[in-house]
């Protein structure tokens, strides 16, 4: 099972802040998961169009090639704007 989190404008666009998902067969990394989410269609297709989309795995900044395993916490969010 993966825990997936969405933040800020992404959370609003998707209308969802968090979900749980069984690690789908064939999905080995963040990029693979992203493609799977985009393929849901509808509002999810917008994930592919977000400029400079950021990722985190287990609360550390990650990259599309970062590997995933069952139990991971994955987050998708726009570039940060704190400070």
């Amino acid at each position: 099972m993966l825990k997936i989190l969405y933040f800020a404008s992404l959370r609003e666009t998707l209308g969802l802040g968090a979900e749980s998902l069984d690690l789908p067969p064939g999905v080995a990394d963040v990029g693979g998961l992203l493609n799977l989410l985009i393929a849901r269609g509808g509002g999810w297709a917008k994930l592919g169009a977000v400029k400079n989309l950021r990722y985190a795995v287990n609360q550390e900044m990650a990259r599309p090639e970062s590997p995933l395993k069952a139990g991971d916490e994955v987050a998708f969010f726009p570039p940060v704007t704190g400070g």
């Binding site: 989190l5 933040f7 800020a8 404008s9 609003e12 400079n52 985190a56 609360q59 550390e60 900044m61 987050a75 969010f77 726009p78 570039p79 940060v80 704007t81 704190g82 400070g83």
Partner: protein, 157 residues
Amino acid sequence: MAARVQEADFDVGAELAALRQGDARIGAIASFVGVVRDINDGASVSGISEMTLEHYPGMTEKALEAIVAEAKARWEIFDALVIHRVGRLLPTEQIVLVAVTGAHRGETFAACEFVMDYLKTRAPFWKREVTPDGARWVDARETDESAAERWQARWEA
């Protein structure tokens, strides 16, 4: 704890006093306070009436602790503190405090600026502004990215 995320305001004087209390090695304290403005650069809107800060609980604290740890590794400083507020904030309110203690001003100034530059691009906070035209998420600024990158270049040089 070198990093705190909280809704409540903070007292800069009290925080600086606590940070340096009883430490006679300290010859310099550099601090930065970020404040909510009622305008935003690079946009036609003015008259921001309020702002909401969202963050990623858990990751935010880890990211801030990591930035402070990196500052301590790069410069000869004694201690550093980051306080970042979240939730609803009004213009003129304090958002963030970065404070660094050290023996001399050069290292403490540099470390304080580094922590702030890295915070702007690596700590998971997002600002949402309410303007006369409605609410909108603040866009990241490329100047923030280049401000963070110059430390990388300096480190690798």
